[in-house]
Amino acid sequence: MKNFWTYLKISIKSKLYYRTSFILNMISPIIVLCGQVLLWKGIFKLNNASDFADMSRNAMFSYILIAFVLNNSLNWSTENSLSKDIRNGTVVSKMIRPTTFLSQNIADMFGGVLIQGLFYTLLVIVIFFIAAKDLFVPSFSNLLLFVLSAILGMILRLMINDFFSLLCFFVTGYLGIAWLKNAITNFFSGAMIPITLFPVTLKSIAGYLPFKYMIQVPISFFLGEYTFADGIKTYTVQILWILFFIILHCLIYRKIRINLVIAGG
């Protein structure tokens, strides 16, 4: 565990070393958020209603803000650093340290999540204070249930990302996998639009996949849609999905060691 913190510290230092690039990375999602807010404002104005598919206007804007924090805590560069290491062969340095490959990967991504997540969380808290009357503000107990679910959701996301990154050992380019992963996770996690707005078939498909436990499910706690009893069940499912991806990691890593060809010999 002590090693995990060492890797985490290195990850944070590495990400903060190039400040301009870091700040630019932080700004671009905020522009997309402004676009999303304007779009939903327009939709509610057109419909001239306070509800849209069972979601109140306030709940919808809270959803957008929380989804923004959860989705953008892990940026493109952090998400794909392992894939890039695999493609250029530098991944081998992770394999010769006296620490498990998985914990190094998770620490590396988590460093990015801590910095970016903290910044966006503070930003959204300020927005909640400024525009509280236009937003759904949760009760304290809902907030606690949400925080726990959001942490589990983030761990699950790191594991899913690790899984997709490991696939780069088997293909020649990482961009295809990265874009595919982004499209699938953004869509089925509820980051783009809430899963409650999906058609029935897509909604049932999303129900069998792990992605909604990254964003949609934690936000449901925030919006008070889930009770404490739902919480126990949901946390269990989240933990089971995390374990599933840990086992998958071990199986893929074993396969990699049998037929691995590292770039550059």
């Binding site: 510290k9 290195i10 230092k13 070393y17 081998v92 010769i96 340290r97």
Partner: protein
């Protein structure tokens, strides 16, 4: 320290289809076949082989990064795949083409991280840190992010990094690749010193045969995945170099060719180089002839050149 028995590693090439390329059927390629190594404490072993011979694959199998198809690998008596933490704690690995440094942070930060990751106590760290700082001349680059270092600077920093935890065995995969002569010299001198004074074992692969000559006493030769020699480096050179060479400084007083027909004579100003097939004359005979035919100022019996040996092995495909 490192014991490898009958190591075999096969890669499976899967069937490939593409618009522009013909279909390649599923096949198995033997990257390593029947490799045996017994590396003892304090030994410096060179692994010689042409490009694609399987040298890097051998290192990866020895470290447990790759699983062997058959055979056994024991690193400090353990299977490195099962007991990674224990084994990696005792080894240092340098891959010349890849850095082990965290490239975005200053070198010193990577060094501090290694202290924590390998749980190096303060005294050991201080001693090793001062040693690498001095011998690898790292003072000017220690606060610079690895990304901004030149190749030679980065390699020195990389070698320093793997020595901080006091490894008992060093794996060096092409450590002087692409470096200028000064940096090569520093690294060779350092590794030789480390091997002789600290008794650190070294497993070295390099295409620069001067590296091998200066650092290692023992060698294995791998060609197309097969081990074709294992033993002393000097023996390899003696067995393989089919010529003797003598270099003479001094005035010529007679014709050496009259005494030893068939020897090759190259003359330049006051220097002469005589070379001949080992099977024709003994070194003693030729030297005594040289003293009759030259007013000798200086005479040197040259060691067989390792470049020549290796070139013969790989170009002529001679078996040992």
């Amino acid at each position: 320290m490192l014991k490898i028995d009958e190591l075999e590693k096969c890669y499976r090439n899967k069937e490939k289809r593409s618009i522009f390329h013909t279909t390649k059927s599923k096949e198995e390629k033997k990257a390593l076949d029947g490799i045996n190594i017994d590396l003892k404490e304090g030994q410096a072993l060179a692994c010689i082989g042409e490009n694609g011979a399987g040298k890097s694959t051998l290192i990866k199998c020895a470290l447990g990064i790759l699983s062997p198809t058959s055979g056994s690998v024991r690193l400090f008596g353990e299977d490195p795949r099962r007991n990674k933490k224990y084994c990696m704690q005792k080894v240092g690995v340098v891959f010349g083409q890849k850095t082990n440094l965290w490239i975005d942070i200053p070198v010193i930060e990577s060094y501090k991280a290694v202290k924590q990751i390998y749980k190096v106590d303060n005294d050991t760290f201080k001693r090793n840190y001062e040693m690498v700082m001095e011998l690898l001349e790292l003072k000017d680059i220690i606060d610079v992010p690895a990304r901004r270092l030149s190749l030679g600077q980065r390699m020195r920093a990389d070698i320093g990094l793997v020595l901080l935890h006091g490894p008992e065995l060093l794996f060096m995969d092409e450590p002087t690749l692409g470096l200028d002569i000064n940096v090569k010299y520093t690294i060779r001198k350092f590794l030789r010193q480390l091997n002789q004074q600290e008794k650190t074992s070294i497993f070295l692969t390099s295409h620069d045969l001067d590296d091998i000559d200066e650092i290692c006493d023992d060698a294995i030769v791998i060609s197309k995945g097969k081990q074709i020699y294992s033993g002393k480096l000097d023996e390899l050179k003696n067995v393989y170099a089919d010529k003797h060479i003598i270099k003479i400084s001094g005035m010529k007083t007679g014709n050496i060719l009259s005494l030893f027909p068939g020897v090759e004579l190259t003359e330049k100003e006051n220097q002469s180089i005589i070379s001949w097939d080992k099977s024709c004359y003994s070194v003693q005979d030729v030297i005594s002839g040289v003293f009759r035919m030259y007013a000798v100022d200086d005479i040197e019996v040259r060691e067989p050149d390792i470049d020549e040996v290796v070139s013969r092995i790989f170009t002529e495909g001679v078996s040992i």
